[in-house]
């Protein structure tokens, strides 16, 4: 099952806070699709997910400055 989170309208620190709280809710094997903007969110969300032991399956450019990141527990 895939969960979705859109943080394109969020600012620091809520971009990272909302992602962290959603990641915590994932069960083993579940994935979270995060829509985020380039810059700090794109640099930090995949990196800190990896640091926390999650798998970053995909980083895909959607449109303009928006990216989709797929994270699996």
């Amino acid at each position: 099952m895939r969960k979705k989170l859109d943080i394109t309208k969020e600012h620091c620190p809520m971009t990272f806070v909302k992602t962290k709280l959603e990641l915590e809710k994932l069960s083993e094997g579940e994935t979270l699709e995060v829509l985020l903007t380039e810059g700090e969110p794109l640099e930090n969300v995949p990196r800190s997910a990896k640091e926390q032991g999650f798998k970053v399956l995909e980083v895909q450019h959607v449109r303009q400055n928006i990216y989709r990141v797929l994270i699996e527990k």
């Binding site: 969020e10 620190p13 962290k20 709280l21 640091e51």
Partner: protein
């Protein structure tokens, strides 16, 4: 695990926003975070959010009323009798930036450790029950040093 400990001495609205932004941001990228509230900073975590005569003894109760709570935190500059924080909150909402209220809820959800200073509480005639239930412990300097050991510490 990386660790960040913040001492919030100030009861100013803007400084509290800074402390909580750092605390929640750090917790979100997997830091263990300790927030230690002392003196004016205690106003941020009082159970009673407005002005109230809390504490033991006439002087302490009067002081408690004057210093107020979460809803009366003044700006460190350009406070304009409390109008500025209200303007700032409405701007934050308009620009979709987390308010102090959002940050406090996030801090609790992220399980940031909240501590209150034993000595300040004693001066003000308060007890642990005068603070929000999420406050984990009332403690002194040695315990704080032990908890913050090996990480970064900020005084705000």
């Amino acid at each position: 695990m990386k660790k960040l400990s913040i001492i919030l001495f100030s009861g100013d609205f803007d400084r509290a926003v800074a402390a909580f932004t750092l605390a929640t941001g750090a917790a979100a990228v997997n830091y263990q975070v300790n927030l230690f509230f002392t003196f004016w900073g205690l106003n941020v975590i009082k159970k009673k959010k407005g002005r109230s005569f809390t504490g033991k003894g006439v002087m302490a109760r009067f002081f408690g009323f004057l210093s107020g709570g979460f809803k009366n935190l003044p700006m460190s500059r350009l406070n304009f009798l409390g109008a500025s924080p209200k303007i700032m909150i409405s701007l934050m909402k308009k620009r979709n930036v987390a308010t102090l209220n959002d940050l406090l809820s996030a801090a609790i959800e992220l399980k940031i450790n909240l501590y209150a200073c034993e000595m300040s509480i004693h001066i003000l005639g308060l007890t642990k029950e005068d603070f929000i239930p999420e406050v984990k412990e009332v403690l002194g300097v040695p315990k704080f040093l032990e908890l913050s050991d090996g990480g970064e510490t900020l005084f705000i």
